[in-house]
Symmetry: C2
Subunit: 342 residues, 2 copies
């Protein structure tokens, strides 16, 4: 067995629990929420593995979490970061099969923004050699969410709506939708991204800053009849889009990029048109989806990264020691993920 060091560098949470606010996945300074510390290297318990980090990715959920506005309470002093890729260097009982493997992982309790990370064995996916560390670092949260949500959309018809479509997740869903013969209608903020989205698989792209966006969407909706709205923004425009969809439409909120709170302007949309508003959280999907179905989705995700249909666009690379000083600035770069390496 490799000799492990006694301590490790980690970027840890400086606050406990929930903030009680919802101001969005934006920060002025990572130092408001995170600190650099030297921690003992943790030991894996039953069903856990210890992973030496190769790369971690930064998702909007990580930022919501460090600010105390995510679905799990913070634990002060624990490392931040949900997702990454690395080598399994120690295993608890029942997890021995993963020893020595390069895996994608999602953490529970001990975050990914550290030199060593504890993860449950069931939240690790052994990586095929063709997959790069950077693709491996963003292999679970966005790709599984994309697959699971497009799976919902395809049961309701051909067309579906994707907001924040230039996000990594939005791009994955547009490509996946096109490959499945569906029509993804993409909502973007900037007109200059329309061409990219069309190339990636969107059947139509609307720009949310266009004053006529709701009218244009309503016209499109009459023809295409999208019945699922996969929405990461959840502002008043989202509500207007929902109200312009046909009967039995579902507004599925999976993120909250806008701090603005939407008002429900038309109760009749729910009552008479049989529409509904719901949420999607990968954690709930994992606990409620049979393992065989999950395995099928995981295999499809790896196949798509291995053959190049999907890739992770990188906007900025940071080392662990840059996170506190440079993460806020790195997050201002658009259209890609921030990747953290040891």
């Amino acid at each position: 067995m490799t000799t492990l060091p006694a301590t490790m560098f980690a970027t840890v949470l400086t606050q406990d629990g929930y903030s009680g606010e919802a101001t969005g996945p934006y920060i002025d300074s990572a130092g408001d929420w995170l600190a650099e510390v030297e921690l003992p290297v943790p030991e894996p318990g039953p069903g856990q593995v210890l992973i030496k980090l190769r790369a971690a990715s930064v998702n909007p959920s990580d930022i919501h979490f460090i600010k105390g506005e995510y679905g799990q309470p913070r634990v002060k002093g624990a490392p931040a970061g949900f997702e990454g890729c690395g080598d399994v260097v120690a295993t608890g009982s029942g997890a021995e099969a993963l020893r020595g493997q390069r895996v994608s992982f999602v953490t529970a309790g001990s975050g990914a923004w550290a030199e060593y990370v504890l993860a449950p064995a069931i939240m690790c996916i052994s990586l095929r050699p063709e997959i790069s560390d950077e693709d491996g670092a963003a292999q679970i949260v966005n790709p599984l969410t994309a697959m699971a949500m497009v799976d919902i959309a395809r049961t309701t018809g051909e067309a579906f709506v994707v907001s924040a479509a230039t996000s990594q997740l939005g791009k994955l869903m547009c490509g996946l939708g096109r490959d499945l013969g569906l029509k993804p209608i993409a909502l973007v903020r900037r007109a200059e991204t329309v061409g990219t989205l069309m190339e990636l698989g969107a059947s139509d792209v609307l720009v949310t800053t266009d004053p006529d966006v709701v009218i244009k969407f309503a016209n499109l909706s009459k023809g295409l009849k999208p019945r699922v709205f996969l929405d990461a923004v959840a502002d008043q425009l989202s509500e207007q889009i929902f109200c312009s969809m046909p009967n039995h439409a579902r507004w599925i909120c999976y993120g909250k990029l806008s701090p603005d709170l939407p008002t429900l302007t038309q109760a009749g949309q729910l009552i008479f048109l049989g529409k509904q508003i719901e949420g999607f959280w990968l954690t709930n999907w994992i606990t409620s989806t049979p393992p065989a179905d999950q395995a099928r989705v995981v295999a499809e995700v790896q196949a798509r990264f291995a053959d190049g249909r999907w890739k992770t666009d990188i906007s900025k690379r940071l080392t662990l020691k840059d996170v506190v000083s440079s993460l806020a600035n790195a997050l201002t770069k658009r259209d890609g993920k921030v990747i953290i390496t040891p």
Copy 2:
């Protein structure tokens, strides 16, 4: 065959289509929306019956409808009124079996606030002799809605929440819930109705004007874990109640008594807690529920009225010729239905 008159007195709509507004089931003067006219007595087409009115009831949906804020467009010059009770005096082809019967009915196209009414035979229920005309006049919309919604609630656990619980529908649901061994949590506006609701079947009653109502509800919710909120109000307090319910709770909006528009203050309720917001409309239930299940529900409704477990509380009786002049004032009477007779 009884000789029918050539014309009839009717209270008709003065406007077409939708208003585009949602100001609630309140009017200052019925004359803003309705007029008194003499119309030809209609002839039943295939599958239709002609009914000589005994009594019609006034539901909030009737008021939403005449104002153009219901799920169906108005037709100027057509009689208003959805629901009533009367004698079948003529039948179209395929509806002969109903000839001569006293029925509860819901209209389609030709409203109930007239001396003679056209109704689809499939929207008529032959009445048992023990049931009074007034109970017969309110036998479908509220009772079927109550049965169908409590049926949804009982699949999710023991407790459920009912707003506007002093409405006829609210009272039906509290009694039905108690009889099924469930715990209806009633929300009322006035403290003096608490005792009545407890007697009728509510397990707990909260007063919405109490400044601590949300805190009190949250405490109750922790213990009872209601997962369905049957809501006819749909204002900001409704949203706060929803946010205080446990995970996987469903906010089922079936009415819009408040003109205030609720803001969704916590996207995390949808995303992380798996809650959802939806609607209920009896018309959709009728078109989507198998006939055998509907027949079971209809039989149970009649049994409950026949043996006195349910009754229609009357707040005011009007004749057809009083509707335009007196309906607005009659609707200010609380805790019962306005009944219209020929």
